[in-house]
Amino acid sequence: MSAPAATATMGRVAAHLHRRARWRWPEIAFWLAVLALIFALPSRAAIINEALIAGLFALSLDLILGLTGIVSLGHAAFLGLGGYAAAVLASQGFADPLLGLVFGAGIAGLAGLVTAPLLLRGGDLTRLMVTLGVSLMLGELANRNGWLTGGADGLNFSIGPVLGLFPIGFTGQRNAALYSFVVLFILFAIARRVAHSPFGLALAATRENRLRAGALGVDTSRRIVAIYTVAAAYAGAAGALLAETTQIVSLDLFDFHRSADVMLMLIIGGAGYLYGGIIGAAAFIVLRDVISAATPEYWEFWIGLALVILVLAGRDRIAAAPRRLITLIAPRVMRRGVA
C-alpha cells in the first residue's frame, strides 16, 4: 500500500526537479522568431547583430549576478580582452573567425580565473570596486601598449569568412548576424544545461545563503571561481564576436559605460532565468535606436525612467499587474453576465 504511494511521490519529486530542465515550446518559438527576424529584416541586420552580441554579454553577467549573486561593475574587462585578443590574432594573419572566437573566449576566461579569487572575500561593495578596478587597469594597459593594441587609435583588421564560406564583413551583415545567433544559441544552451545541473543548484544555493551552502559541504569559493571563469569566457566570446563582425576594436570596449549598460540590460530583462539578458539587451538597443532617432541625446532619460520604475515597483508586481486587473474586472463582468 505504501509502495505505490512512495512511487507516486517519487514521480512528483522527479517531475518537480526536472520541470525547468525540459525545453518548452515558448522557448523554441522564441529562438525561431529571432532567427526569422534575421531573414525578415536584412536591412536591420547590423542592429540585430549588435543586440545578439549584447545579449550574449548580458547572459554572461547573468551567470554570475543572476545565478550566483556575484555583482560586477567591471564586466567590460572581459568583453575588451576577448575583443582585443581576437583582433590582435586576426591582425597577425590568423583571420579565421572561429579561431579568433575561441582565442578571445580563452584569454578572457583565463583572466577571469586569475581575478576570481579577488571576489571571494568581502561583500557586494568590495566586489563592485574590485571588478571596476580590474576593468580600469585592463583598459589602461590596452591604452599604454599601443604596439600591440593600436592604443587610442584602436585596431582595424580584416577577418576571413566563417568556416571559409560565409563572409561577415560589411557586405555580409546578415551572415554576421547569423554567426552571432548561432554562437549565442549554442552558448545559451550550454548555460541553460549547466544551470539545471547539481553544479547550477550549488550556484543558486551560494546566492541564496552562502553560509548554509558551506554547511552542506558546498565549496562555495571553488564554485564561484568556476562560474566566474565561465562568465568571463562568455563575455570574451561576445567581445570577439563584436570585434570580428565590425572588424575594428577600440578602447571603448573596456569603457565603464559598457559595464553599466550590460547591468542595465540584465536588470531590465530580469536576472536569474538566462533569457533576461537577451530580452533586456534587445529592448535596450531597440529603445536606444527608436528614441535616439526621435530625440538624440535624450534617450537615456527614458532608459533611466524605465529603470527607476522597474527597480522601485518591482518586476514581479509589474508582471502581475495585468493578472490583478483581470481578477479585479472579471468578477464584475461575470456578475453582470449572471444578472
Partner: protein, 251 residues
C-alpha cells in the same frame, strides 16, 4: 578505548581582550546523545563555530573521528561527517525543499560538481529525497519555495538538510527555538527518530528537551567548561543551579 566521534582539545578563542572560549576540552562519543547548555553569553555559539570550522581557534585542536581537522575548511568537515543545524533558520528561500535536499545529497555523494546532468537525474537521489521528505512530513510542501513554508516546517527542513549530508556527528543548535506549540511535537518526534548511530550534540535552552533527550550534559559558563555528567548529576549540581538553572528561574 574507542575514539570519540568529536573531540575538542584545549580550545581557546580570543576576540581582542575577550576570551570567548577558555581552554575547553570535551568529547562526544559515537552515537551519543549529549547536550551543551549554558547561560546566554556562555560562548556556546563560538564553540559551535570552532567545532564546525566557521571560526579558527586561537589555540587547541578539533578532532573528528580521531583525525585532526583544526585546519580543515568547514565545507570539507561536512564532507568528513560533521554537520549542523542553525539556531536561526539558514535555508535557501527561493529554492524548494526538494531542490535543497537534491543539492545536499549531490554534494555528499560527490556529484556536486557535475555540471552536465540534470540535478536529481538519478533515481537513487530521487528515492533519498523522497524518503527524507516523508520522514520529516514535508512531501506536501516539497515543490513550494522554502520562504512560503510555515516556521515549524522550516525548522524540520533545517534538520532534514543536515541529515542529508549523512553526518557521523550532528550539532543541533536550538532546534525547537521559537516553534509554536502546535508544531513543536513534530520537531520532538523528528529528534527522537534520528538514527541512533549518529553522535548528537544538542545546544538548547529548553530544559525539558535537554533532560528528555540527552544522556550526558556539558555545562559551559563564561567560556569555560564548568562540569559534565549524567542528567541527574547535573540537575543536582549546586554550581549548575546557581549559575544556570537558578538564573533562568526554571525547575
Amino acid at each position: 578505548m574507542t575514539v570519540p566521534a568529536l573531540e575538542a582539545r584545549g580550545l581557546i578563542r580570543r576576540f581582542g581582550p575577550l576570551i570567548a572560549t577558555d581552554d575547553v576540552s570535551f568529547a562526544v562519543q559515537s552515537g551519543a546523545r549529549q547536550a551543551l547548555i549554558g547561560p546566554n553569553g556562555a560562548g556556546k555559539t563560538t564553540l559551535i563555530n570552532l567545532l564546525t570550522g566557521v571560526l579558527k581557534p586561537t589555540a587547541g585542536q578539533v578532532m573528528l573521528q580521531g583525525r585532526d581537522v583544526t585546519h580543515v575548511a568547514s565545507s570539507a568537515r561536512v564532507r568528513m561527517g560533521l554537520s549542523r543545524t542553525f539556531q536561526i533558520n539558514q535555508l535557501f528561500p527561493d529554492l524548494t525543499p526538494a531542490e535543497s535536499l537534491a543539492l545536499a545529497i549531490s554534494e555528499r555523494d560527490g556529484s556536486g560538481a557535475d555540471f552536465w546532468r540534470v540535478a536529481g537525474g538519478r533515481p537513487e537521489i530521487i528515492a533519498e529525497i523522497e524518503s527524507l521528505l516523508t520522514r520529516f512530513g514535508l512531501e506536501a510542501d516539497m515543490d513550494q519555495p522554502t520562504r512560503k513554508l510555515s516556521y515549524g516546517k522550516q525548522r524540520l527542513l533545517e534538520i532534514a538538510l543536515a541529515l542529508a549530508t549523512r553526518p557521523r556527528v550532528l550539532l543541533l543548535d536550538e532546534p525547537a527555538a521559537g516553534v509554536p506549540e502546535a508544531e513543536r511535537r513534530d520537531i520532538l518526534a523528528a529528534l527522537a527518530a534520528l538514527p541512533s548511530d549518529i553522535a548528537i550534540l544538542l545546544i538548547e535552552h529548553d530544559m525539558d528537551l535537554v533532560f528528555n533527550f540527552s544522556h550526558r550534559i556539558s555545562v559551559l559558563v563564561a567560556g569555560k567548561l564548568l562540569t559534565e555528567g549524567e542528567p541527574e548529576a547535573i540537575a543536582a549540581d549546586e554550581r549548575v543551579r546557581a549559575v544556570y538553572l537558578g538564573e533562568d528561574a526554571h525547575g
